[in-house]
Symmetry: C2
Subunit: 209 residues, 2 copies
DNA sequence: AACAAGTTAGTGAGCAATCACTCATTACTG
DNA sequence: CAGTAATGAGTGATTGCTCACTAACTTGTT
């Protein structure tokens, strides 16, 4: 439980952003916090500037408009999660090994920047375009891994999109429950349970215990 | 696949609202459609009135303000889903029988009023109060059924809130995937697969096939 | 060093547009 | 005509965004 999974991945997956003290970073941190709490339309540019401790006009030096600011932040976590799944698919050959890596990394990314992750699961639906590019979304990447495993004969063939959604739900719904206060503490604490649940949905855990 | 599950439940679970042609019903239908599409803050009272074919002022004859309208609609589907789970817990004695009923009914309620269901899963987080009353939320009701099954010795003991979230995720994440366009057709088509997945997460499907 | 010129970072008053909501008035109905 | 249903122009507040401006810092020339 001590060793982190994230360092095994590339820099993009580990999550990098603007220099911590810069004005741009202050705006981003203020915005992601306020957006996750009140929704994008529930936050004014004035309140973002106030929370960041900068003037309102400065936002428009770094971002074209409020929507672009919201989109950039969403894209950061969206791509981070997607690339993590793709990387895991490349570094491991079998579905169970991939799932072991992915469940841990998913939880660690969520715990690492919970505000940004919370923003992602609460408000991703504001950006339909991000999910309409299947290969660059967590769902699409997961569906691809599952489809490959089906073609290798690791699991029975069925609709990979439905199965990918069921599998993602085993991890994402507890995350949403944590957002809504029904579950407490870091997600990583439950990573082993999530892994077991995911394997069960895939019919891969008959040989355990 | 022909027989519906919904009729087995009480009137409240079957879903009843204002008379179809009344002005109040027209406002509700217009609001739930626009809210689910653009979010509550992304919809103006003017646009609701226009879509409903009534004047803007009429909204305030039937609802105290825009927030109350949004809350009433959310409460309708929220209570409908919650009561369905509670009812299933009363009418069936074992967890597998309860799950058989619930997965079907969940899908049928979603298909029956997809716009309202879509509004629920996309924007429930706007009303944290609804989830903070655990016994009156789908998550809370499901957690109770699971906890009871643990005490009857049907499944191993563990954190019932975490397990309830994982189980709900198996059904809700495919619903979200359908919202985002990754899955098509009615949810009921996949009810049997969802049931199998839920049983697997609970460790209850060793005796199948 | 001294100064001028140019570039970048940052400000905040102000603007047109839109917002949720009110209310005096009208239309309808039994 | 009493009572309810319905209207929509009007209101003050707030919105996202602009832009003329200042402050601070780099660079080039002497």
């Amino acid at each position: 439980m001590n060793d982190k999974i994230i360092p095994h991945f590339s820099d993009e997956v580990r999550g990098v952003s603007a220099a911590n003290g810069s004005a741009k970073a202050k705006i981003e941190r203020a915005a992601v916090w306020l957006f996750s709490e009140h929704g994008i339309d529930g936050v004014s540019t004035k309140s973002i500037a106030a929370q960041a401790g900068v003037s309102e006009g400065l936002i428009y030096r770094y971002f074209k408009n409020k929507e672009a600011l919201a989109r950039d932040l969403m894209l950061a976590i969206h791509n981070r999660l997607t690339l993590m799944i793709i990387d895991a698919g490349k570094s491991e050959a079998t579905l169970p090994a991939q799932i072991h890596l992915i469940t841990r990394a998913y939880c660690e990314i969520a715990d690492d920047d919970w505000t940004l992750f919370r923003y992602h699961i609460l408000h991703i639906s504001r950006f339909p375009g991000l999910s309409e590019t299947p290969s660059l979304s967590p769902h699409g990447a997961a569906a691809r891994l599952i489809k490959n495993a089906m073609e290798r004969g690791e699991i029975p063939k069925m609709n990979p999109d439905v199965l990918a959604a069921m599998v993602l739900g085993v991890v994402l719904q507890p995350a949403q429950a944590k957002v809504l206060g029904a579950i407490k503490g870091p997600l990583s604490k439950h990573a082993a349970v999530f892994e077991k649940g995911v394997l069960a949905v895939l019919g891969l855990n008959a040989d355990k215990e």
